[in-house]
Symmetry: C2
Subunit: 243 residues, 2 copies
Amino acid sequence: MNGRLDRIRIVLARTSHPGNVGAAARAMKTMGLSQLWLVQPPADDAGVARARAAGADDILDAARVCRRLEEALSGTAFAVALTTRRREPLPPPSWMREAAPRLVAAAAQGEVALVFGNEQAGLSNEEAALCRLPVMIPANPAYSSLNLGAAVQVACYELRLAALEPGLPPAPDNPPATFEEIRHFYEHLEKAVTRTGFLDPAHPKRLMPRLRRLFDRVDLERDEVSLLRGMLKTFLKPWEKVD
Amino acid sequence: MNGRLDRIRIVLARTSHPGNVGAAARAMKTMGLSQLWLVQPPADDAGVARARAAGADDILDAARVCRRLEEALSGTAFAVALTTRRREPLPPPSWMREAAPRLVAAAAQGEVALVFGNEQAGLSNEEAALCRLPVMIPANPAYSSLNLGAAVQVACYELRLAALEPGLPPAPDNPPATFEEIRHFYEHLEKAVTRTGFLDPAHPKRLMPRLRRLFDRVDLERDEVSLLRGMLKTFLKPWEKVD
């Protein structure tokens, strides 16, 4: 079980309060998770994070600090964004309870990330668009403001229970595509639609978001990405000669 | 749904840190619970609880303060103790996920309490013995120390999900026995076993804990308690004349 939980990254993006970083570390450790990734973490000269982490300072010590969310997602095969509302261009949110077995199953094959945004502002649209699936924790509609550490606790609790369950049927042998492979595919796709004039840069009409939303719902395998890109390349050959 | 969540009391017994009282209030409100009961709460001249409660000060304002756990359980039909280990004389613990539908079903009929002990010491044996069922949150055996606010968050999250589910089959029409009725029954029982010499006060041999553990596993109805007590009274009649 721990093998899978060890491959799940908790990513805190642009957190404001160091106390919440410490609370997240403690929450993770109580549920058996170990990988904390921090994107532009807050200054913490007073050691507030360490105090709130209680006995989980090992998680803080091992935390990876990044400048941008892309770095924290590097090498992951599946990334989800915790959110409190529906966001375009992402597909409709899943509940955390439903998403947890899927995340744990994906972690049997590769690295997985759960991304939490800033306490007030949440994730930017650009950050959310880097994730494949938005995930929500059910809450009181009249007061849905979970503390960041509390949200990490609930998410890690669901992951632990999902990891303890017998889980989903065995995943196929084919390795999933990584974050970079999927990103390169989208870049390739965008170049292709632009090159072909299918996308008019002056009037993009949400074409790329719609394409991403479609492919984001598929758990693309590495071989499938290669296939798609090979296909694109072939399709585009005649266009290279035009101009 | 809210009717049931409104009948579930979160009872914090002898909490040390006012920040945890505030975090618990916020956790409750995010999940739609409203009744906070505090047994010997900590002093809080600096208003730390209010700061941590964020927008949940209405929960703090309405909190009931008690001297003893018995007061906080007064009028409840079902009380469970959050615990991190197996405790005698209580029955073996249930997982919070399994207990939640049962608590919500009980709340359809009467008041229910979830009791959380002190951050370091947990509940005293006397306090734990006032509850019918111990409940645990699954945790990393190597580091099971959930922050109190985080534990309240997970418990209330499970209660909310259980309240949103279709739930258990309709409960019988018979009202459950209250905390006081069950306590009076145990007192009656103890008097009976003592009076009859079945219990030797010099060598009690854990007789009462074993009896309580038996009856605590039954969701006693009011009429059943009356029946048991009527029976005891009848049984004991001849003993009143002896001496």
